[in-house]
Amino acid sequence: MEAAAAQAPAVRVRGVTLGWALAAVAFLVLALVVGVVVGPVDLGVGDVLQSIAAKLGVPGVHSPLSPTAEAILWDLRVPRVVLAALVGGMLAIAGATYQGVFHNPLADPYLLGVAAGAGLGATLAIAYLPHTFSGHELLPLAAFVGGSVAVVIAYSIGRAAGRERDSATLVLAGVTVASFFTALQTFVQQRNTDTLQEVTSWILGSLPNTGWSDVRTLAPYVLAATAVIVALRRVVDVLSLGDLEAESLGIHVRRVRLALVVAATIGTAAAVAVSGLIAFVGIIVPHAVRLVVGTSYRGLLPLSFVVGAGFLVLCDVIARTALSPAEVPIGVVTALFGAPAFALVLRTRGSRA
């Protein structure tokens, strides 16, 4: 891997300019601020900022918020914004990783069946686990296990059937496993119509109001997966040239690909487990970033995380406020607002792609 990193400049990758990196970080910071300030309950921009300053320990500043407003801000809104950032960042960087590893521009984080597997796991949990509090606590675990099992099966089939370095076989295996798991999921759902609404709302995707507990659950997975992917980002550049080319540059393609797929999948499965299936983020964010800053994965991967995080935070602001005090499923928002936003990027920057 050290050798690969040393070789990377030889294949003429272009890094990201500092300007774009700063712009992306500024976008995320802006999204976070909007996410914290705007919500179904108007807490007052100045008051919120003062409360944050007080929390950060700025001397002489005291929170002007009432205890209820304080609880709304710190127990509900801030953890949800953080959760949106973690899920959005994870889905975007996982999508970018899959696109590079499989040389497939249509790859998304759900490519190898993680969504279908997690959907089956969640449906089984909703339908058959005892209707107790602990039964519900196990739903994310069931989704995580289902997603991971689906990917392991897809990977085994792809490896057994495919020639040594054929990533197309792996993609086909993923599609096959996804269809099979989706069929099982639909069957179980049809057998248990009383749970239809719960399953449907899980599949549409939504960010839970579980306060900091889901943030604590998800953060280690996202940080670990992102660290692995970012550490290997130069190798993805080489892999994206094609497996044979990468091999000729001295990269152990299968081993590196496995490490990247495992990291992206575990991170995605964890994100899906807490938020359900949020569509579109994993495919449009990397492409939007690519259109703006170029095709080098060295810059694309970390920027996808940053932009994906900001994007989902903003989508969640819309989900929380568009029909306030009612909520809109966030999966609907990501597609509804993501598609036109992406079209705009395509139109204005398309010539560079």
Binding site: A71, H136, E327
Partner: protein
Amino acid sequence: MSGRFALAAPLAVVALMLAAPSLAATKPAVAASYPVTVTVDNGKVTIRKRPSRIVSLSPTATETLFAIGAGRQVVAVDDQSDYPKQAPHTSLSGFTPNVEAIAALRPDLVVIAFDPKGLSGALNRLGIPVVFQNAAPTLPAAYRQIRQLGKVTGHAQEANTLAGRMTRQIRSIVQRVRAKAIKASVYHELDQTLFSVTSNTFVGRVYAMLGLTNIADAATAGGSDYPQLSAEYVVSANPDLIVLADTVCCAQTAQTVAARPGWSRVSAVRTGSIVRLNDSISSRWGPRLVNLVRAVGTAVLRLGSQ
């Protein structure tokens, strides 16, 4: 031989004794004259003779049929009909119904609350009459459905008695509560992702009747009478009363509600004004409506005395 007779004779007596009261019960007090015609959600339906093989795919209708003494005429109920216990439970589905499986039971009346994919038409073509009673929008509509079921099953008298008793009991609870003129707000929870009901729904009308302000009404603009509220809004709306209709599906309790982030400051949580309803009571419009009104009414009266 004589030994077997000795055993058989008392058995026959017991059998007669068991049969006697039920024979009396099944003989309608007022001889119901058939055919009868009712106007329900699938139009005018004519029943030619007293049905003796009823299939109920409506959990509400199942409760009503048993409450008006037509239970013995019911041969099968759907997988969601969990009350009363003695109902002949089957795996028939009212949401994804299998017409052949229903027809195989040779029913002479099928009662449904949902008519997916031409279910009633298909059963009619097989010569099976169908009574379709959609979710009742109001209390009078619920009473009317009970009377209709009484009419078609030959238990008009019992159905009238039941509807009359429900009307009186509910009216008396409402009067007791309204007399106190308690100003209070309510949050009705359908599941732990905060789906709720506005005053345009059946349960919502019950709250309005009891003089409660429904916090979900602020979300009416979204276009749904079953909006998903944001947690921030529920906490800031600070309801005086929380009604949990997700105690069975989702195992919610006063403790799980109090443990939610930010909810410990909500008035209902601080005063312990959290009503736990069996999910099925709050989602049906049958005889157990009285239980719903009584549970909420009692909680409101308790609020007033605090």
